[in-house]
Symmetry: C2
Subunit: 218 residues, 2 copies
């Protein structure tokens, strides 16, 4: 394998990891803004989303360049296609961080409501899943990727708890239904974020096995 | 360009269109099940989702085969990468049809509730967007793809109306909050479905222009 090709693959691994780190940080900031009902901090997450979009384009262009110049086959071809799809998921995780941040404006208007839902555990799990799925990608670690898939069930369980919990609170606080719907939607955004991390992990397993586990056949 | 390569590209166009038609039909069935509160029809949508998953795999494998055997460059390379990403969006639209269908069980239990939300207009718009985005793909029709992007704003407007409408209904029917949340979630699934159609259209424009419009820079 040409040295320049190896160097370019390494470069792609480096930039997809940077994008992953950037996305992870945005998720952290968005959830922190929810917890503190800090509308200004939420605005920063919304306004800087273009940086993630730009980096997504950079990753895809790098992959297309390597595909066109080196015309890789077999495992290298699968790796590049996996990166292109994972790149897409990372950008959408960034969009979820924006969605979460957009809910903060409503929360900030209701500082008096004393019903809160603790998103920390759910958010931390989702972030762990994201980090693990990217580590699994660069280290081609199938076991780690499989762990992410099982973690997704835990996030779904917390999401169902959130749903029940918030639903009962709605009945008791009919004057705060807008606020409560926002809490419900935040929990769904976190769930979708975890889904994207799961997609990444499944893509890694698919690439390694060259087989299909994506749709539960394992 | 080798005849066999042209034939294989044509075949890929054909199977992605079949997948598109299959996905469109599932969306139609899921929305019909909502409208008629028909839990059995909804179950059929859920149980046959594996067919979409299998076809997604088939499309991706076909693309990888062409990439490995013919090592296309320039516009053909971009086309194949676009199909791989669009394929992914189609599979996720299928997941949204399943998500919608999963809500029907709760609706069916509340045949007595006389509050309904008319999803027909929203669903029809989302389906039109899906059909147009796939036509834009196979005909490389940039104008048509741009039209899809503008339609997405209309779906977002209907979604906001749904939100306001259902929110007020919740306040007046606090004993039916679970039912109402289901209506709200169906409208969000339809919105996400339209988002995926928009992603497809943006991918087509991106491919044609070889430029980035995906992130609103147009």
């Amino acid at each position: 394998m040409a040295k320049i090709f190896i160097r370019e693959l390494d470069n792609i691994k480096k930039i997809i990891l940077s994008l992953g780190a950037m996305v992870e940080e945005r998720v952290r900031l968005a959830v922190a803004a929810v917890e503190s009902k800090d509308a200004k901090a939420a605005q920063r997450v919304i306004k800087t989303d273009y940086e993630i979009d730009e980096m997504e384009v950079e990753v895809e262009e790098a992959c297309l360049k390597v595909l066109a110049l080196h015309q890789p086959v077999a495992v290298d071809l699968r790796f590049l296609i996996a990166v292109i799809k994972i790149n897409n998921d990372l950008e959408r995780i960034g969009d979820q961080a924006v969605n979460i941040a957009q809910r903060v404006a409503v929360l900030a208007k209701h500082r008096d409501v004393n019903f809160e839902f603790d998103y920390t555990r759910m958010a931390e799990k989702a972030q762990t899943m994201l980090r693990m799925s990217l580590d699994a990608l660069v280290n081609l670690d199938e076991d780690l990727a499989l762990k992410v898939v099982t973690l997704d069930d835990e996030v779904d369980t917390i999401q169902r708890d959130a749903y029940d919990h918030i639903k009962s609170a709605m009945k008791e606080n009919t004057d705060k239904i807008g606020y409560m719907i926002n809490l419900l939607l935040i929990s769904r955004h976190l769930e979708r974020l975890a889904d994207h991390a799961t997609n990444i992990a499944e893509e890694v397993i698919y690439m390694i096995e060259g087989e299909i586990i994506r749709h539960g056949n394992y």
